[in-house]
């Protein structure tokens, strides 16, 4: 038997204490949607509007892996990568360079609902820099995700990786469209 591992996001609550842990592996029609609200509902509410000038941003998202079941000994070597193709002109998705510890590194997403989220480097206390994901994190150059559990590995059900913190920026040069979905991949080794 092997481990059951799913992709989760945290939202709501307060700094260091998210009120919702949601398994987004079964979200439909996509697992995750960037929006101007702090929730994981995949709908067309709270969309990111194209600004006349400047940038509108999604609320940031805390994404991580969690072991939800199975029999296994340990999981480590967790990586994230994209398929490399971005959303097009004026749309940027960034990930924080740091990978904050689950719960203690959680910072409640902030902004003005329906308009724009606050920029993560200036407003998320655990993120000091960010990197665009599609051009930088592909199979040949994945982003490593740290583990703060004992021993630096996942060896029990309910243990998690640290967070990846994502945010989408939409600039005035973006074109209004129903954008195609993008596939992101999480990779891990298990014994």
């Amino acid at each position: 038997m092997v481990a059951t591992v799913n992709i989760f996001t945290d939202f709501g609550g307060s700094d260091g204490n998210p009120s919702n842990e949601q398994n987004i592996s079964s979200n439909s029609p996509v697992n995750l949607r960037f929006k101007t609200a702090d929730n994981n509902t995949v709908d067309s509410v709270d969309e990111i509007r194209i600004p006349e000038t400047g940038t509108n941003r999604s609320y940031w998202k805390h994404v991580y892996l969690k072991v939800t079941g199975g029999v296994f000994s340990r999981i480590n070597n967790i990586k994230f990568y994209t398929a490399g193709t971005n959303f097009g002109t004026g749309i940027t998705v960034n990930v924080g360079n740091e990978t904050p510890t689950k719960n203690s590194g959680y910072v409640l997403a902030s902004g003005t609902r329906g308009e724009s989220g606050d920029e993560m480097v200036s407003s998320h206390g655990g993120i000091s820099a960010k990197t665009e994901v599609f051009g930088n994190y592909i199979l040949s150059t994945p982003k490593s995700i740290s583990i703060s559990e004992s021993g630096g590995q996942l060896d029990s059900v309910n243990e998690t990786s640290d967070y990846l913190v994502f945010q989408m920026d939409v600039g005035s040069t973006a074109t209004k469209a129903d954008l195609s979905n993008k596939t992101w991949t999480f990779q891990y080794d298990e014994v």
Binding site: F72, N77, L139, T183, F186, Q187, D189, E190, V191
Partner: protein, 113 residues
């Protein structure tokens, strides 16, 4: 339907002859033991892959998982290293495999840690 590499289970023979099987053991039970032979075998068709480990070699084993929207792929990685020399088999879902004698970082053949 299970993919071929999902049917692979391991069996380890320790230097005192004891057999430890995945069906009733966790991999961590091999920690600190001197493994003489490590075997992968298919519960579907009985196909076997044997890895002579012995005293000088260190076992390498992992299931490398890739999960994304509506998809989960897995590669079985098994082999050994001895000093600077290594020999590792990557077994894919259809039963095909590749053997590497060095890690290739930035690919699915990157290092098992």
């Amino acid at each position: 339907m299970m993919r071929f590499n999902e049917t692979l289970k391991w069996l380890a023979i320790i230097d005192d002859g004891t057999k430890i099987r995945e069906e009733n053991s966790k991999f961590s039970e091999l920690d600190g033991k001197n493994i003489k032979l490590f075997r992968l075998y298919s519960t579907k068709n009985g196909k076997e892959y044997n890895f002579d480990i012995g005293s000088g070699r260190k076992l390498i084993f992992a299931r490398r998982n890739m999960i994304s929207q509506n998809s989960k792929e897995m590669i079985v990685i098994c082999g050994w290293y001895e000093g600077d020399y290594m020999r590792v088999m990557f077994i894919f879902k259809d039963g095909s495999y590749e053997i590497k004698e060095e890690w290739k970082e930035g690919t699915i053949y990157s290092k098992v840690i």
